[in-house]
């Protein structure tokens, strides 16, 4: 068994573009769910709106940079549209509305009706040349970072991506450590009590929803740029739940938790993937009970088990405070 190969695979994924997209999106969800207590079950829609806003703008003749602006702005608008009618109501209305809106939006983007703008089932490709043209590294040259070898193309995406993640995390840190951040936490703890103290809870929730959505859209933008591709089937509802896993794994309501959660999630997923593939091919009894498709599926089972173990032993996540988790209402 090639353990070091499995670890290397894990690390490459943990630092790669998908982890970056998850990290930014998780920072957004953490603002909504971890700090404000909003149940947004349609987070993937914000990622999708960011990605498609970018791609469709370029496709329509705009520049990539304009496209990114359009994508982020569209996510803010989506946040306001979802929040305005629901955030005055009980918490579950937001949950139901967001999950329905996300899937409706994806089906709309996929449908023949919007095809001229969104490319229908095929999506849009090759819209991020302007980004990749800035790459100072040789795109197909292999660069060695310790034991890892990555292409110049990927290296550039990683550097830009993690820089963006870091900057956004620092901005969110500044916000949640402010009195505004305390207001969000108060809303999470008890909305009515916060209202009784003269706080406009509705506006604060709307801000958190829209801002969290804008962050998620940046995740969608980064992933789209790296892949030079957007297609409706990369924005299935389970993406939202992966982002929830990332947030809870890292520690909901913590500042660095979402980033750590994304890295650990991707590492674990691809490490297990490598190990399972090898075991399926080389260990006879594993090969006897699993075909290669089964080996790929078992990752999900193991990730689920890992998450259950975490919730039993560290319900507050990797970075959450034990003391806070023990406080009772």
């Amino acid at each position: 068994m090639d353990w070091s190969g499995a670890i290397t695979n894990g690390i490459i994924s943990a630092l790669g573009p998908v982890a970056i997209a998850y990290a930014v999106s998780a920072i957004g969800l953490n603002l909504q769910f971890g700090f404000t207590g909003l149940l947004n079950f349609g987070h993937v829609a914000f990622m999708m709106v960011g990605a498609y806003g970018t791609a469709a703008t370029v496709e329509a003749g705009g520049s990539l940079w304009l496209g990114i602006g359009v994508g982020i702005l569209a996510a803010v608008v989506l946040g306001l549209l979802l929040g305005l009618p629901t955030l005055r109501l009980r918490a579950d209305y937001l949950a139901i509305t967001t999950i329905a809106a996300a899937e409706t939006l994806r089906l709309l983007v996929r449908s023949p009706v919007t095809r001229s703008v969104t490319g229908g089932v095929f999506g849009i490709q090759g819209f991020a040349e302007e980004f990749h043209a800035l790459n100072p590294f040789g795109a197909s040259t292999g660069y060695a970072i310790g034991p890892l070898v990555v292409s110049g193309r990927r290296l550039f995406v990683m550097i830009v991506g993690w820089t963006v993640v870091l900057i956004l995390a620092l901005i969110v840190r500044r916000l949640v450590k402010s009195p505004w951040g305390r207001l969000l936490k108060a809303i999470r703890e008890d909305e009515d009590a916060t209202r009784s103290l003269g706080k406009n809870v509705f506006v604060a929730k709307l801000q958190a929803l829209a801002l969290g959505g804008a962050l998620a859209s940046v995740g969608g933008v980064l992933l789209a740029i790296e892949q030079q591709n957007v297609s409706p089937d990369s924005f299935l509802p389970q993406v939202t739940f992966i982002i929830y896993v990332v947030v809870i794994l890292g520690g909901a309501g913590t500042i660095w938790g979402p980033m750590l959660g994304a890295v650990i999630f991707q590492f674990f997923f691809y490490f297990v993937d490598s190990v399972m593939r090898q075991a399926q091919a080389n260990v006879s009894w594993v090969g006897a009970i699993l075909d290669s498709a089964g080996a790929a599926q078992i990752r999900f089972v193991l990730v689920g088990l890992g998450l259950m173990a975490l919730l039993v032993f560290r319900p507050q996540g990797m970075l959450g405070s034990r003391r806070e988790a023990l406080v009772d209402g």
Partner: protein, 278 residues
């Protein structure tokens, strides 16, 4: 005795009676849940700078009336005004900002905020609560001022040693004190306390009573819901009795004590209970 209370000496003990200087005037407020008429107050005035007790059997509509007046529930009909200005249909947070702050029958601490943060949060002037200011900065001074003010309140209510603990770790009685401190931070004129003494040990009750009369002595108006008649007799300047949603009696504590309507309301409620129990 505070000025407000002194002005009540000539006021007749009769439901709906006018007061010399009312801070709160309620007119024709009704609220029903299905077929149940929970609140039906035709007229009620609350004298400024007094401690007014709102009493009545369980289910009389005391909490519902609080909810209506503070914007936490919508009345079917009626109007009410604070300092002469109508506040019907105004969102709860604005009611608080206008000077009428309420607490809840079941205490609502913000458990995973520290005790100090619970109180600082309630400051109405903190500039850093705007998203924009939180981003660009320049709120530290406002926060410092709020913190100084909050610490003074914690000291006043005997919670300064708990300032950095999570509010969720406070005892029931300490939570009641925290709610008082928090409400005071909003700088209200009228404080509405829903059963501030419920579930508190007798030693702390005495301390809470002193705090409540202290609020009046510094010029605030207090309305509080209470079931313990000894407490009502001890600290209130005026008593309003609610039964089945209606004001059936009001007057000074001593005039209420022997009022046959009040006794009937309570006994009636007890008789009702006894029948249910069988």
């Amino acid at each position: 005795m505070a000025d407000g209370a002194a002005a009540l000496t000539g006021v007749a003990p009769r439901p709906g009676v006018a007061k010399p200087d009312p801070i709160l005037v309620v007119e024709g407020v009704t609220r029903s849940f299905g077929g149940l008429q929970a609140v039906d107050v035709s007229h009620l005035e609350v004298q400024r700078n007094t401690v007014t007790a709102l009493i009545g059997p369980n289910g009389a509509g005391k909490t519902t009336l609080f909810n209506l007046l503070t914007g936490f529930d919508q009345a079917d009909s009626g109007s009410w005004s604070l300092n002469g200005g109508p506040i019907v249909g105004i969102p709860a947070y604005q009611v608080a900002r206008r000077g009428m702050v309420r607490t809840f029958q079941l205490t609502r601490a913000l458990p995973r905020l520290t005790v100090l943060d619970n109180v600082v949060l309630a400051d109405p002037h903190n500039p850093g609560e705007s998203l924009w200011r939180a981003l660009i900065g320049g709120w530290r001074r406002g926060e410092e001022e709020a913190t100084v003010k909050a610490k003074a309140l914690l000291e006043r209510f005997g919670l300064e040693h708990m300032a950095d603990e999570y509010a969720g770790s406070l005892s029931g009685g300490q939570r009641k004190l925290l709610e008082l401190a928090r409400a005071m931070m909003v700088e209200p004129e009228l404080i509405m306390l829903d059963e501030p003494m419920a579930g508190i040990n007798p030693a702390l009750t005495q301390q809470l009573l002193t705090h409540i009369t202290g609020l009046r002595d510094e010029g605030k108006t207090v309305i509080f819901v209470e079931h313990d008649m000894d407490v009502v007799q001890e600290i209130s300047d005026w008593v309003v009795v609610l039964a089945e949603g209606q004001v059936i009696a009001e007057g000074t504590p001593s005039s209420i004590a022997g009022n046959p309507d009040v006794i009937e309301a309570y006994l009636g409620a007890h008789r009702g209970k006894a029948v249910e129990d069988e």
